[in-house]
Subunit: 148 residues, 2 copies
């Protein structure tokens, strides 16, 4: 996989991820890509972002190996942007953001979009950190082992 | 819980979350707070961020109900910043960022910090989206049901 961040000397994986996608527009573009948006003009319509910023963020996401740019099926001059495997692996990140938002940023009963399993129409389970035995872990149950 | 984002009319929980914490410094501050950093000077030392930016982001995180500012135990003029319940509920977001970084942004064998269960010293399980029956869901198994 193409990956421009390998050269980073940042030993914290959280910080390295944030360095690559910890930006409002990049995260929103990735969300839209999961929702099936692929074209520059459609991202622009969805996000209401300036063309130069959108072009910059798309270029960075391609460089980071999260999106790949390819000609559209119909051919012509247009490109479309599609999640790579590394990009699809951001699914838990986007889902965690969704689930935190649902829990913390909506009043009870306030309507919001929902992520459902297509086959059953049922909501996706809430993701919870667990230990190797499957027991739920709270933040205070864990610690970061830094490099010595 | 204090929550300044309730006034948003954004119906997508992902976007609403990104509006509150989708910023490099905000995410890094939250990561540091999970790691036990509480004081302005310690955040500054950890992040190498300009004082005015750090002050701005801390203020926003307090306004969003993610951090609370309180006097330090020793008293005096200093404040410390501590995660609220809403802030602690960001644990899956930070963990998802960590796990994506570990998987995608390090070469095999490249050393990085690890999140472990304190009690056992064992790594935390990888979080995976699942349906209500516990079956693993890939992005293509799901869709967003928008508000009608």
């Amino acid at each position: 996989m193409t990956n421009s961040a390998h050269s980073s000397d940042e030993p914290c994986p959280v910080a390295r991820s944030i360095g690559v996608i910890g930006d409002r527009w990049s995260l929103l573009i990735v969300r839209d890509a999961f929702d099936g948006i692929h074209r520059f003009s459609d991202f622009q319509r969805s996000l209401g972002v300036a063309r130069n910023i959108l072009a910059d963020r798309l270029r960075r996401l391609v460089e980071a190996g999260i999106l790949v740019a390819r000609p559209t099926r119909e051919g012509g001059a247009y490109q479309e942007y599609v999640l790579t495997e590394a990009g699809k692996n951001l699914f838990p990140v986007v889902l965690a953001l969704r689930q935190w938002g649902e829990r913390q940023l909506f009043t009870p009963g306030e309507p919001h979009s929902e992520l459902i399993e297509t086959k059953t129409g049922k909501p996706v389970q809430r993701m919870v950190p667990r230990n190797e035995d499957g027991e739920v872990l709270l933040p205070d149950d864990t610690k970061v082992r830094k490099l010595s």
